[in-house]
């Protein structure tokens, strides 16, 4: 124990005093086994969770090392209950092991027979086991590897999966690093992933997750299936792979609503994979179309539930999850752990910002007073109409103009949720709009014009939330959003975080109608970013315009 920067609490939270001289070292060690919950300016709070401890164990850290970290940096004695809990939890990981026997069959083994008997008799696990082949081993049904891992995590006995992977059909992929190189943290992420087998790499938006994917593909040099959120994102992956690797147009296929190409590297959307025809998944054949040696899941926190189910059957393939956050709005973090794999690398947002790899950003909540008539209309509206009325209040247009006038020469994204509002903003600002209805070719053209500086302002819908590379955007004005979605707010801020050649600091504005449900939703939306250390300055729209 020392007069250190950590306060370890009996409720398994850990507080970190940011200004303490040892804070940086403590954070570095703590992050291996505790999940960052909030990172406001003075005190960051972490939580020691079962998944966090198992992630750390999977990465090779022992309970003794974790406790030594806490003892070394703790201001007060580490509560014994926490120490005991850490030891007990960590010891649970790896007691059960999934491996293959000499004949290549999947077996579940455990040196502790009592534990093996306990899990084998569990209602949801028994059907996944074929028979007990020895005191310390069960034969696993060939199709049940993923589901078994899922159920074992739920039961509190996560299995270490040493059953290995199919290598896939070899396909040479090299990184072409003549005019660029991987950043150190990207290389660490790739190494962490490969050492671990399968798992998730957590990097903030703008930190170059695509390059981590490309690096992993080069390392594996095998047929690769990349699953992404939408077609625009698919095109960006394709473009990035063509630029950064030895892959050529002929080697990369797109499997989406528009094109159905299957090539050694195939980029497919979640949507197409989960599309159903007559109650059946219509494109399941893709998963077995080639002998994939690597499956990359982009934005893994958005992985739709059906893809989890399909992923359960892909356990023999090496899997890489990429995400900016493990927080899922549906709380299925346990499924990510068991089916994609443990977290293999995590770099806090602020840490990469401090290294200069992503741009610092300021966040503002701008409160807009509704004119009297709008207030009356809002008051008289039913619950189901109120959010839309507040979110699309015409008074916001003036505030948008005023904000734009405060950022001369900067490239600005104006983001809204509703098409009619986007139309009005586009007309009112004299700027092009880009929505889901915009043809892909036109989207690409507009994005390129924005990148080239020909267009200074783009009015966009949620199509620009994810995987759109607009490095010179330094201002985002969020006029309306998807109710209280935290991850949407984070993604939108992420559009601004690429380091700017212009040297501009990023500014993120969120416009809310005062005293309406818009304000309530905004509070929820801001939670994730506030917890990540992005402080919102609150402004009144009226003085802003003055």
């Amino acid at each position: 124990m020392s007069d250190g920067p950590l306060i370890v609490q009996s409720d398994r939270t850990v507080l970190l005093e940011v200004a303490h001289p040892d804070a940086s070292d403590a954070r570095h060690e703590l992050a291996t086994f505790a999940e960052l919950e909030r990172a406001p300016e003075h005190i960051h709070s972490y939580r020691i969770t079962r998944l966090g401890l198992w992630n750390a164990r999977a990465a090779g850290h022992t309970a003794a090392e974790m406790l030594a970290t806490l003892d070394r940096y703790s201001k007060f004695p580490v509560p014994q209950a926490v120490a005991l809990g850490i030891r007990e939890t960590v010891e649970r990981y790896g007691r059960l092991v999934i491996s293959r026997d000499d004949e290549g069959q999947l077996v579940l083994g455990c040196t502790d027979r009592a534990v093996l008997t306990e899990v084998a008799s569990a209602k949801k696990i028994a059907p996944l086991l074929v028979e007990r082949i020895a005191d310390d081993r069960y034969l696993i049904a060939p199709w049940a590897r993923g589901e078994l891992k899922q159920q074992l995590v739920k039961l509190g006995w996560p299995a270490e999966d040493l059953a290995g992977y199919t290598p896939g059909t070899p396909h040479e992929i090299r990184l072409e690093t003549d005019d660029w190189s991987l950043r150190p943290y990207q290389q660490k992420a790739i190494d962490g992933f490969f050492t671990g087998g399968s798992g998730v790499v957590v990097l903030p938006c703008g930190a170059g997750k695509t390059l981590v994917g490309a690096g992993a593909m080069a390392e594996a040099s095998t047929n690769t299936l990349i699953l992404v959120t939408n077609t625009v994102s698919a095109r960006q992956w394709r473009s990035e792979l063509l630029r950064r690797t030895s892959l050529t147009e002929e080697e990369i296929g797109e499997y989406s609503g528009e094109t159905k190409e299957i090539k050694p590297v195939t980029i497919a959307t979640y949507q197409i994979l989960t599309a159903k025809r007559r109650g059946e998944y219509a494109h399941l054949a893709l998963l077995d179309a080639l002998d994939w040696g690597l499956v990359v899941y982009d934005e893994v926190h958005l992985l739709p539930a059906p893809v989890f189910k399909l992923t359960a059957e892909l356990q023999a393939r090496r899997r890489l999850g990429l995400t900016a956050t493990l927080v899922r709005e549906d709380g299925r973090e346990g499924d990510v752990f068991s089916l994609i794999g443990p977290k293999r690398f995590d770099a806090p947002w602020r840490e990469i910002e401090a290294q200069g790899f992503i741009s610092p950003a300021e966040c503002f909540e701008v409160r807009v007073d509704l004119p009297y008539d709008d207030r009356l209309a809002y008051a008289a509206a039913g619950d189901d109409e109120r959010y839309r009325l507040a979110a699309t209040a015409p008074a916001k247009l003036d505030a948008v103009r005023d904000i734009i006038s405060r950022h001369p020469g900067e490239q600005i994204l104006v983001i809204a949720q509703y098409l009619d509002q986007i139309e009005k903003l586009s007309t009112g600002l004299g700027a092009p709009q880009l929505t889901g209805a915009t043809p892909n070719a036109e989207r690409e053209r507009l994005f390129q014009a924005f990148r080239d500086g020909e267009e200074r302002i783009l009015v966009v819908s949620k199509v620009a939330n994810f995987s759109v590379d607009l490095p010179e955007a330094s201002v985002a004005i969020q006029v309306s959003g998807s109710f209280g979605s935290r991850q949407e707010e984070a993604q939108r801020l992420g559009r601004l975080l690429r380091p700017k050649n212009s040297g501009h600091t990023a500014s993120f504005y969120s416009l809310v109608a005062r005293d309406t449900v818009d304000q309530d939703f905004a509070q929820n939306r801001q939670r994730f970013l506030a917890e990540q250390g992005y402080a919102y300055t609150i402004l009144d729209a009226a003085p802003l315009t003055a």
Partner: protein, 604 residues
């Protein structure tokens, strides 16, 4: 000796008990105000009832049983096999567990008539010969866990009591705290449902709450909230230790590592293996660090042998007290330790508690700031206080929140209508009044706008105020014709809520909160003042008993000439200070003034 003599002698013995001993006796026997006991004789009769005697004998502790056996045999032969030397020094006449089993008469101590047959039916002597269960000392780590849990429990109790103080708990028909209320407290205190139930149990044991039609914070509870950590813990631990007669003392003498349940069974050898310590009490002991993994801790032993050492151990495990906090842009507040009690109380007026552990965290919300402003704070007061306790200044978002809430505070004021029916909502703007009138969320209030800055509702002001606040309007409730809000308009500190400044000192012997408070006062009031009074009451008791049981009594009667005679009577009624009875010898019906009866003895 016969039963009536036992009742007489026991009643005399009870009459000599002090209030505290009396209180302990009633508590140990589970008697309540609902018990049909009017005077000392009723109580003595109840204590000597064969069923009660049998039950008490079976639950008797080992030293007490040894004393009984010694008295039964007239020797000290059982002392050595009892496993405890305490039996010798046991003040048997005062031990509440022995009252009714042993009676103090003119000739000294004796077994009660009801006890003898029970004792004969049990092989008490061999039951008492069993060896005590082995101690299994706790590791240092386990001892630390226990002490740290004690600190956590005190913190959790603090939150639970505050939640009870904010709004007393509703009870079910059977007198239990309603499940929905436990849920409410659990949410307010950020504790698990089971933990809250356990803490409410402990609070009742310690007299921190009182129960009538609701469960609320007792004055001792309010004082507890205002006391230091050491006092808080010792109040709870002492109260628990006093439960179960001398069980805790016996455990302490057995030493740390003693398995509590097993030792409890061993201590009550005639109890058929039943646990003399209720599971809730054992859970409370673990929560307070007195037991760990079912075994007595060093902290438990220290409580029994040197309470100052025990308190010192608890304080050493607690985080230090701090006087400054971190205020953050996300409106959270972190105190990197336990915030000094007065600062904590002040901060709670302005914010909501998020968690209490080694550090405390709070969060400002529009509602919490508004609550403070409605209670009379000004924005400048709030900011001045925050400036004073902040390690890092006041973040922009917090300053904005305070000033914004203050600027909106008096925009809407709700008052009862002058005519006494409904309420008036006054706004600072005609258009705001018009907006309220059309607000669909307020449709139920039937607000009528008269074109001015006011709207009217047929509903009571409190209801209208609450509805406006639910609809996010910054409404303030004020008395009719008064620009100032009523003192309790904030909704805090109402009812039985704790009032730290006005709280009296803790009074561990407070009996007002006990379930037998009325019974105790009834019995104390019925105590005879003089031996003469006692004899008169006893005589009346024998006569009324004979009436009820259609028995006979022998009475000595003083004649008008001063001489006395004896008669065998069959009483048929006692009223208006006269006895009506049949004289068996003369076969006549007689009526006698009670004052003429010198002595009554029950016919054997």
């Amino acid at each position: 000796m016969d039963r009536q003599q036992d009742i007489r002698d026991l009643a005399a013995q009870l009459g000599a008990l002090g209030t505290e001993a009396f209180s302990a006796l009633l508590a140990s026997r589970g008697l309540t105000d609902k018990s049909r006991i009017e005077d000392l004789f009723d109580l003595a009769e109840w204590l000597l009832d064969p069923a009660e005697v049998s039950s008490r004998l079976r639950r008797l502790g080992r030293p007490q049983l040894a004393a009984v056996l010694r008295l039964s045999s007239g020797t000290n032969a059982e002392r050595d096999s009892s496993g405890t030397g305490a039996a010798d020094s046991l003040p048997v006449e005062d031990d509440p567990s022995l009252i009714g089993l042993i009676v103090t008469g003119r000739d000294g101590l004796r077994l009660s008539a009801a006890l003898e047959p029970e004792l004969n039916s049990l092989d008490a002597a061999s039951s008492i010969a069993a060896a005590a269960p082995d101690r299994c000392p706790l590791t240092d780590e386990e001892e630390s866990v226990a002490v740290q849990r004690a600190v956590t429990t005190v913190g959790a109790m603090h939150e639970v009591l505050r939640a009870v103080g904010a709004s007393p708990l509703r009870l079910t028909a059977s007198g239990r705290v309603a499940a929905s209320e436990v849920k409410r407290v659990a949410a307010a205190a950020a504790e698990e449902h089971d933990t809250v139930e356990s803490l409410l149990h402990l609070a009742a044991i310690a007299g921190l709450t009182r129960q009538s039609t609701t469960r609320s914070v007792a004055p001792a509870g309010a004082a507890w909230l205002d006391s230091s950590l050491g006092t808080r813990w010792s109040v709870l631990a002492d109260a628990l230790a006093r439960r179960g007669g001398g069980m805790f003392t016996e455990l302490v003498s057995a030493g740390a590592g003693t398995p509590v349940r097993e030792y409890g069974r061993w201590l009550t050898p005639l109890n058929g293996g039943n646990d003399p310590i209720p599971p809730d009490d054992l859970a409370a002991a673990e929560a307070l660090g007195l037991a760990e993994d079912g075994r007595l801790t060093a902290l438990g032993v220290a409580l029994g042998t040197d309470p100052a050492v025990a308190v010192g151990a608890v304080l050493a495990a607690a985080p230090p007290t701090v006087e400054a906090v971190y205020l953050q842009q996300d409106l959270s507040v972190i105190a990197p330790g336990t915030l000094r009690a007065d600062l904590d109380a002040r901060l709670r007026q302005l914010s909501d508690v998020e968690s209490r552990a080694e550090a405390n965290s709070y969060r400002f919300t529009p509602e919490s700031i508004e609550r403070a402003l409605l209670a009379g704070d000004r924005a400048s007061d709030v900011l001045e206080f925050l400036e004073r306790i902040s390690l890092t200044g006041i973040p922009q978002s917090l300053r904005y929140l305070v000033e914004d809430q203050a600027s909106r505070l008096d925009r809407i004021v709700v008052t009862p209508a002058p005519a006494g029916a409904g309420s008036v909502v006054t706004t600072d703007d005609e258009r705001l009044a018009a907006q309220l009138a059309v607000d669909t969320e307020l449709r139920l209030l039937e607000l009528a706008h008269d074109g001015s800055r006011t709207v009217h509702s047929p509903y009571p002001a409190e209801f209208v105020h609450a509805s406006l606040r639910d609809a996010r309007h910054p409404a303030r409730l004020a008395a009719a014709g008064s620009p100032e809000p009523p003192a309790d308009a904030s909704g805090t500190g109402r009812g039985d809520g704790p009032s730290p400044t006005a709280a009296p000192a803790p009074d561990r012997a407070t009996v007002a909160s006990q379930p037998f408070a009325l019974l105790l006062s009834r019995l104390l009031a019925a105590r005879p003042d003089t031996p003469g009074d006692f004899e008169q009451l006893w005589a009346r008791r024998l006569l009324t008993t004979a009436v009820r049981e259609r028995g006979t009594v022998r009475v000595r009667i003083r004649r008008s000439d001063g001489t006395e005679r004896e008669a065998q009577l069959e009483p048929t009624g006692v009223s208006q200070e006269r006895l009506r009875a049949r004289d068996r010898e003369n076969d006549t019906e007689r009526t006698l003034p009670l004052s003429a009866i010198v002595e009554v003895t029950a016919d054997v």
